[in-house]
């Protein structure tokens, strides 16, 4: 009986909270918040908060289309693997003091797990092999490379700050980082962690694909432009993945910088975390317009590997010296 109860509880985590249903609702709303904030700043038409969810349902209703040269298996499988990987990651991130599946992966493992949805999307794009897909592939690969270095520096800075305080070795466990913040206060309010938090906020538009950086226009001499595109369910799931990535990144930010503000009541903790995620998503929307959107593709990579990485590295050095 205990085993059945435990299995049902785990299934509930995966299917409802903080798994699939929460990812769908939370991801689309947070993505909507970020897009609306960016649109408000651009003074262009503001989309509805639930616009990503509406887009998803609309795309689901379309006929599934795969361009002729594309690999059907990769196009159909890629988005599903990507979204499933994101949900699996979300289940490992603490919500205040609660973690659905603790002890499966630490922050380093989580960092590498983030590559799974990115690569799933990249291989879907690669297999489409249309001119549009080529341009998108460049964006995706550039974003993947650009964000990895600052992200690892941020996580190292956080691990170092916690280990300096506890006097133990480097601690990469998200649960321990959250538990420590519960006792010692949020990392965001520490002087040394402010540059790392800023770097993380700048990373979010890159990882979530919000940055509409200035891709060079492709000249297709053959004139067979991007008419043949992926459509229907794969595209819907792919767009949902981008929304869920917003939830993943904002909740990771909340866990490592704003952990320990919970009440030990799951529903209340969920609401508090979601509120912080919404604030972070709005900040990401602002940063998209202020920084990321102004960058040309070549500069995008350099910006992340120099400015953003330097911010994270400053935090790492400050944490190293216990400041």
């Amino acid at each position: 009986m205990e085993i059945v109860k435990s299995v049902l509880l785990d299934l509930g985590y995966i299917l409802i909270f903080p798994g699939f249903l929460f990812c769908f609702l939370g991801g689309t709303v947070l993505s909507g918040i970020a897009r609306r904030t960016a649109a408000e700043l651009r003074k262009s038409g503001s989309p509805a908060l639930i616009q990503p969810a509406l887009d998803f349902f609309e795309l689901c209703g379309k006929e599934t289309g795969v361009p002729a040269p594309a690999s059907r298996i990769l196009v159909l499988l890629g988005p599903f693997v990507g979204l499933a990987a994101l949900i699996a990651i979300q289940l490992l991130i603490p919500i205040c003091s609660f973690t659905a599946f603790p002890g499966i992966a630490d922050t380093l493992a989580l960092l590498c797990l983030l590559a799974v949805p990115a690569l799933a999307e990249i291989f879907m794009t690669v297999s489409a092999d249309t001119p549009d897909a080529k341009a998108r592939l460049r964006q995706q690969v550039t974003a993947m490379i650009s964000c990895a270095l600052p992200l690892v520096l941020v996580l190292l800075a956080v691990g170092m700050a916690v280990s300096r305080e506890t006097g133990s070795g480097m601690d990469f466990s998200l649960q321990n980082i959250a538990a420590w913040q519960e006792e010692a206060g949020c990392l965001l309010f520490r002087f040394s962690m402010v540059p790392a938090a800023a770097a993380f906020l700048l990373i979010i538009p890159g990882v979530t694909g919000m940055q509409s950086f200035d891709t060079a226009e492709i000249v297709d001499e053959a004139g067979n432009g991007g008419s043949a595109q992926i459509s229907g369910i794969p595209l819907a799931v792919s767009s949902l993945s981008r929304s869920v990535r917003m939830l993943t990144m904002t909740s990771l930010f909340t866990a490592i910088f704003l952990g320990g503000l919970g009440t030990h009541v799951l529903i209340a903790d969920g609401l508090i975390t979601f509120f912080f995620c919404a604030v972070v998503a709005a900040c990401a929307g602002v940063l998209t317009v202020v920084f990321a959107e102004r960058l040309k593709t070549g500069k995008f990579f350099l910006f992340y590997w120099t400015v953003v990485s330097a911010l994270a590295a400053i935090s790492l050095v400050l944490a190293w010296y216990g400041l």
Partner: protein, 637 residues
Amino acid sequence: MSEFFSPARLPVCAIAVLFLGAFLSALFGRVKIIRSVLAILAVSCSFACMIALVRPVMLGGEVIVWSADSLSSYDGAALEVDALSLFFALLVTAAAFVSCIWAVSVPKQDDSSPMGFSLFQILTGGILAFVLSGDIFTMFLMAEAASIAATSLTAVSGRGRGAMKAAFRALVLGGIETVFLLAGAAILYANARTLSIARLCTVIPGMIDNSSIKIAFALLFAGFGVNACLVPFHLLAEDRAKGSAPAAVLSNSALALGGIYGIVRLTCFLFQTMDLSSFQFLLVMVGSASMLLCVTMALSGRDLDQILGFHAASQNSCVLIAFGLHTTDGFSAGLFHALNCMLFSALLFLAAGSIMRETGKASLDELGGLGRKMPHTFGLFLIGAFSASGIPPFNGFASGWMIFRACCAKAVESGRIGFMFAAVLFFAASVLTAASFVRVSRSVFFGPLPEGCENCKESTLGMRLAMGIYAALCVLAGLLPGVAGRFLTRPGTVAAFNVEKYIDSMLGAGTASEAFGPFVAAAQNITFDQSGVWSPFAWLLILCVSFLAVSGASAFFRRSLPEAPDAPEDAGGAPLSCGGEDRVSLEEAADPLIDLTSGCKRYFSLMERIHSDNLNDAALWAAAAAALLMLFSMISL
């Protein structure tokens, strides 16, 4: 009879059977079936001999010594098998065995095949004897045998002028290696009057102030560095990759790892300098520089074999970083990464070999669309690529994660932030590797089929079996890292941290305490950090349930929603063009790394300038490296 097959004779049997096989292949190798049977018999016997040693050496902790009686007066000419050398010997023989299955399954073999099989066995035997050798002169001889066999395999690969040019450069670099190793061994003999590694271990620490001993260290380090394709000898990785696929597996993975094994014997055993932070710094710095340089060379590479050669060298350099930490966790992680490097590099080389054999092309510009023609090879290549890129839950991730943690732990323990930046560089190299494989996969397996590739067929069953074995091992090693740890990497680590036991086994009990004074057996104090959190099975289970949930929900929406009238529009995706003024052609846009290469234009053009084909430059770099190493050892030792 049972005495004949005693464990002490197995190492020499394993080596002898390979050289005998090479001789017989040269004699009777004109008939395909005979050379295939001879090669398979030789490598499988050799592999079986090494497996038979696992129980006494890995689990029992024994050190097996074999010495030719007639040569014992020379105080050398011995083979020794401790857990460290057996670990590398198992890698070499396993790689040779599986690659041999691939080689004998190749359908249309060319005229050079009999010679190729013979050289392949000499190469395997040479590397095996190198790692099992108990004296520095046999190490030198066998390194030479292996190096010449690898060069010859490149020359007879039947790939025209490019291969001959690569073979010539490899020959020159091999000559430089010969000079370094021979000079180093000669200086050691002149000072210590012995070439036995065990005896040198007892003598050298007392002679460390001698300048010529310091020069010997620099020369031997540079010699093994050439074998390991470390910077500035990394172009050798490109040259060795021009050989046939099984030859590339052995020379780019096994022989290069043999070079790293030589460096470990040199620093941890002969000179016992790894307690000095300056030598830890040397290994980590050389490893990091080689790793980054090789991965960026792979990013700008245009040929499939060249790119894979650089990736193999880059990953092997990561092993050196882990060894340079000189912690039990770092060393164990390094050994695990060496195992994984062997697996995924071999898989990638064999998959690339299948493609190049079928199409007759190696340039990424001339390949494309092969995913449809060779779907199994494509799938197996992807497993190798994901493993090399450190994507969970494959083996490259498991060992990479361990190295990263070991670097951070070392940084905290030693109070040196540099180790942490080595970890960051290691992670950056993994991301660049992933990006490089996206580009390779796109160029080779997607897009339209180029002319001349219309009739390409899937690899034969035997070739796929060989690649499948490597792929299965890549997955298994990723899912069950503890098994490799228990049976292979931990015994190897204990052996590496227990010089005294090695000396006592070779020279008799009590020799080490006579030389160094009373000591506490290091092996008894060795502990391994268990604090890391990564549970691949649990994560995979969650992923599978999530996948089912996503698929089920999508099917539900698909059925219950009415069909929308308009053409689809990409929702949420970034716009493809924001009115930028730049315009690029489709060909340029096809390179997914163009933004990276244009962003770092200066770096890549500098790399192009300093990597000329001029052999004088290679010799100059070698001389400069040796001079720097001499200067370093003069200051630090």
